[in-house]
Point group: C2
Chain length 309, copies 2
């Protein structure tokens, strides 16, 4: 399964807002379609956003658009995942946007397989691994980062159980990670986000592996809730790993200077089409939080397991 593919000068993206009930591809004919897909989270996950953005630049190039203007527009879709900026800059500095995008597309799979191989080392036979949000195939072109580690461990013959946090508000854990593990035949259980601490308290989690939207000085920005999972892991001595490609690393900024995206209140007030609180309720809906470096056991990359910045 590929999260996206390029065909006849168009980009096709799995519409992740419709999973797991419908498996359909969203067709991007223009870079504006790609912008729409990123903003509405039809495509999400730092590595996938990066590659989709690169193809957005390719679509703009093919249409003869002003590439500098397009680059700025694409960069302004979402502020936190650094891969978006990395990918657009890389394409901008290349001779051909399409060639570069296709190159990045191919690299993504290789990178994730290397992350998986490096990560499998820390996984023991029989481990129960808790993950938050979806850092799976659907967050990349394929295979995944955190779930890539799970896949690699399973391919190495280790018996793994996975626990997925549902990951409110958009439930990428319940909708995407559970679905990926079910497709893969890896035993998986679903919990609400606030159960993670209790399962660690009971000794039912051996390791935590999550993805990253940005690795910078002082910590890692990742899906809202990652911080609370990490604090529980620290308290109950559960190793806490982040799996992310080097393209997610930002060596220049403090993680505390990174803009944390605030998203629409509707995501919290509703659950699918079901409303849970009065429409006029005031909401705070930050999309990410920051896991401080001192509570991260290691960052699993394509180059090995690194210390946090």
């Amino acid at each position: 399964m590929k999260t996206m593919f390029w065909k006849e000068n168009k980009l096709f993206l799995i519409d992740q807002t419709r999973l797991p009930d419908e498996f359909t591809y969203f067709e991007c004919k223009t870079y504006k379609d790609v912008i729409h897909a990123i903003k509405t989270m039809k495509v999400r996950g730092a590595p996938a956003i990066g590659v989709a953005a690169a193809f957005g630049m390719a679509l703009a190039e093919l249409a003869g658009e002003n590439l500098e203007k397009t680059a700025n527009e694409i960069k302004s879709t979402r502020p936190t995942a650094v891969n978006l900026f990395w990918a657009v800059d890389r394409v901008t500095n290349s001779n051909s946007a399409l060639e570069e995008a296709l190159k990045m597309y191919g690299e993504d799979v290789k990178t994730n397989k290397a992350i998986g191989k490096n990560g499998s080392v820390i996984i023991d036979d029989g481990d129960t691994i808790l993950t938050h949000c979806n850092a799976g195939a659907l967050a990349c072109v394929e295979y995944g980062t955190a779930l890539g580690v799970v896949r690699a461990a399973a391919e190495d013959g280790k018996r793994i159980n996975v626990i997925c946090d549902e990951t409110r508000p958009l439930c990428q854990g319940a909708r995407l990670s559970v679905w990926e593990m079910q497709q893969e035949g890896i035993p998986v259980r679903l919990i609400v986000d606030s159960s993670a601490g209790y399962l660690m308290q009971k000794g039912e989690v051996d390791k935590v592996v999550i993805g990253a939207d940005r690795v910078a000085k002082g910590g890692v920005a990742n899906k809202i809730g990652s911080l609370m999972v990490a604090l529980a892991a620290k308290r109950f001595n559960v190793p806490f790993y982040v799996a992310a490609p080097k393209s997610t690393f930002d060596y220049e900024n403090s993680i505390y200077d990174v803009e944390i995206e605030e998203r629409d209140s509707r995501e919290v007030l509703y659950f699918g089409d079901c409303r849970v609180a009065p429409e006029e309720t005031e909401v705070k809906n930050p999309a990410f939080d920051i896991v401080p470096s001192d509570i991260i056991s290691g960052i699993i990359t394509e180059d090995g397991i690194l210390k946090p910045l």
Copy 2:
């Protein structure tokens, strides 16, 4: 607003599963109706469960039922909140179940007002208070424990902002606490459970006040997710208080020996009528977790602020 009242030998309970969209009373003509209401969480919250159980015993007495058998049936509805056992035993040891139930009904309000008064001392003007689940009027006969502290502070003229975690899976925060604060005219914002840590990381929370289902040796059992909120509060030096009547105290057992109720998977798979993961998905749905004593700043009771057991 009263969460329950006794009229013409029947118990009327606000059906909390229908709030905030519908405000209706569920009529209990028999103790079996009370059992149904407790199991389905039409009535919930440790103090409210206790008083409802006492009225259940009164209904059984009026109908000439075997009270020992009824007591056992009522006690087996939910295992974690100790008030249920406390209330049934108290009624069993009295001369008249109805008189005792009515006495407990009256005491509940006085107790909560005393908790509020004692708790208001730790609240400063301008504080933002985060609460989890609903330890409000709806969890008691009226006024509330954790939200009783908020009400008392507001009555003392302090300007308070409240942040409510939605409290998956049944969203008592989003549906009940937000609604109570809106009715009261106290500024309130709603967040997903996993945002609590981030808001503390940003310094946007001054105090946490939650309720309790049981206070015992070593800690407090409360709604799932309380533990993760407490760990975040510890990390970011936010005072973390539990507000609970002495009827919630269990002096005999270790909190780690208390049975933690596991509830139906449907609560996690669905959100109202909206399904979020494939029907056949395996789920773990513990209803409570344990906040260890060492990360609790104090327990606000009708007798003052106490150290955890």
